[in-house]
Symmetry: C2
Subunit: 209 residues, 2 copies
């Protein structure tokens, strides 16, 4: 834990304004908003933005810092439910987050050099493992599906949300439902390719465009 001395009052205020502006612009238009525009929207100069967030990713990290905790909370709720309902609940809630925030949608599916995973991330990872394991052992989730396969849901939802956000904001629910029926089919056909290994998934998530 880097012990940082408290910010000066005006500095803290500007920092908050920047995060607020970034959060709103990211949500509306995705992560490609220019840093100058964020500064302008926040009502501070671009120098101040760079002073607080030297790197583009520092700002993104700050804006989405709480999201890992949200995922953990969703996962905990899911684990309090029946195995299959829990999995569905988890995926629906996470996809809702994607659908509600274009920046988050970019973050979970696209490049964006990530900060190193926090304890919260690791905890989320463990809970997700449990969600998948439970669903599989309950006999509902087909047993050749792994945690890594959930990335297909994230990626698929990401693109569907992008394409349909302005036209049929709920279209992703249909996409998700179709995928879920693939996950729990009573008549699974052999999958043509082994699942991604955990480190492959990490790399895929980091991968740049």
């Amino acid at each position: 834990m880097p012990r940082t001395k408290p910010l000066r009052k005006d500095a803290q205020r500007n920092r908050d304004l920047l995060i607020k502006a970034a959060r709103e612009l990211y949500a509306a238009r995705g992560l490609d908003v220019s840093l100058d525009e964020i500064a302008r929207t926040a009502g501070v100069s671009s120098g101040t933005l760079y002073n607080h967030f030297p790197d583009r990713t520092d700002l993104i990290d700050a804006v989405f810092a709480d999201r890992a905790a949200t995922v953990v909370r969703i996962a905990e709720n899911a684990l309090a439910m029946e195995p299959w309902e829990g999995l569905v609940h988890f995926l629906e809630r996470v996809c809702e987050q994607q659908a509600a925030d274009r920046g988050y949608n970019d973050l979970v599916s696209r490049r964006v050099p990530q900060a190193p995973p926090t304890d919260e991330h690791l905890r989320g990872y463990e809970l997700m493992q449990q969600i998948v394991k439970r669903a599989r052992e309950s006999g509902t989730l087909r047993d050749d599906v792994t945690l890594e396969d959930l990335a297909f849901v994230t990626w698929g939802t990401a693109r569907t949300v992008e394409a349909t956000a302005g036209i049929r904001p709920q279209a992703w629910r249909r996409h998700l439902a179709l995928m879920l029926d693939g996950f729990r089919t009573p008549a699974p056909h052999p999958l043509p390719e082994p699942p991604l290994r955990p480190e492959e998934l990490v790399n895929a998530m980091r991968e740049c465009s």
Copy 2:
């Protein structure tokens, strides 16, 4: 049909060089390659590029002009097969095209202001309708799935290909297989959202980021 007078010999050669360079760069790096770089790769000046292709989309249209015919050919082959096998064949071949060419992957899934549909496009559309109808009537494809739902496959594959191209180039096949099992499950669950209407899909395909 706009009757255009034939190009001068050197002009035709430069045009071909430009299309060739664009095709290669697009395939390798997607549609965001800069026009100057394409001109440089082709060995002509940027002025010449703009002379031949005033608009960015003119070049994209020229590069991918033959793809609609390819889709028609794939669809025709698919219709010569058993209904379900035909559908699978069609989707696999189209996704292979996406996986093999980042530019095409961008084209089918992302924005990119499109040229008005050609006769070839309309024919492809009709054949796809038949493929879906046959598969549904054969009892294999669940009967609440429409042609428009195939867009979920395109979109999902697009993102999965982007994310995994450098890591596990065949990962999309697993994603596709899972979706296909959702399409033919013997135990379909009601879908939470009506299918996209044809004009909604057109708009979604046109939609910009």
